[in-house]
Amino acid sequence: MPEINRRQRQKLGYTYTFLSDPKAEVIRRYDLLHRGAGPKGTDIARPAEFLIDPSGTIRWVNLTENIAVRARPEQVLKAFDEMQTKAGP
């Protein structure tokens, strides 16, 4: 929920955008649904990270095999650097 995101974002001092997907609609659209894996058996997303370029095209996807494993910042930044290099002048 937006309110929870807002408090958490403030508490952690983040500046990027947090979005709420309470009905898991976007999660489903991206085929990331993890049925019953959330608190009290709610549906949530399996962890996933995407890097999208200015044309809306996906340039990098990270779908890990273990829920505990998430993309590290360095991986995303490296993917971004590679994307920039390919884009050229």
Partner: protein, 153 residues
């Protein structure tokens, strides 16, 4: 002197088998500390710290068991040794089951967008309750990192 003598004497010469307890505490630490070590990617992605703690626990428990049964005149622990060792094994087993099996039960997500495809557009509420469309973020950024962070284990 063995109390089974029936002599009723308390044998004060046998030492406390500290190795058993140290081993058990290491195993317990290995079992309980993942949420702490999960703060650091190195020990989150693969539970090095926890496995090392379990290994240390195992070494001390084995040492303690050798002492309890091999040097029973010197060390106590014939009752507690097996109990603590069993608990240690159970904790290690459960931890391993959760991390190496249960956490890997991820849906296949074969329909997830792939590299080269367009990211499906959507509009969701941000932390201030405002509508945000992916298309807007994409058009005004050099790149958008879309992270489904799950918000839960």
């Amino acid at each position: 002197m063995d109390p089974a003598d029936g002599g009723g004497k308390i044998d004060v010469k046998r030492s406390w088998n500290w190795s058993l307890w140290i081993g058990f505490l290491f195993a317990l630490a290995g079992f309980l500390s993942y949420t702490f070590f999960a703060q650091f990617p190195v020990t989150r992605d693969f539970p090095w710290a926890n496995l090392l703690l379990f290994a240390a626990g195992g070494i001390f428990l084995v040492l303690g068991l050798f002492r309890a049964f091999g040097k029973a005149q010197v060390y106590r622990g014939k009752l507690f040794g097996p109990i603590l060792a069993t608990l240690g094994i159970l904790m290690f087993g459960f931890f391993s089951y959760v991390f190496f099996y249960q956490l890997r039960q991820v849906p296949p997500s074969t329909g997830a967008p792939r590299v080269g495809q367009k990211a499906p557009d959507f509009t969701l509420l941000d932390q201030d309750g405002k509508d945000v469309a992916l298309g807007d973020l994409v058009s005004r950024s050099k790149a958008v990192a879309l992270i489904f962070y799950r918000g839960f284990w």
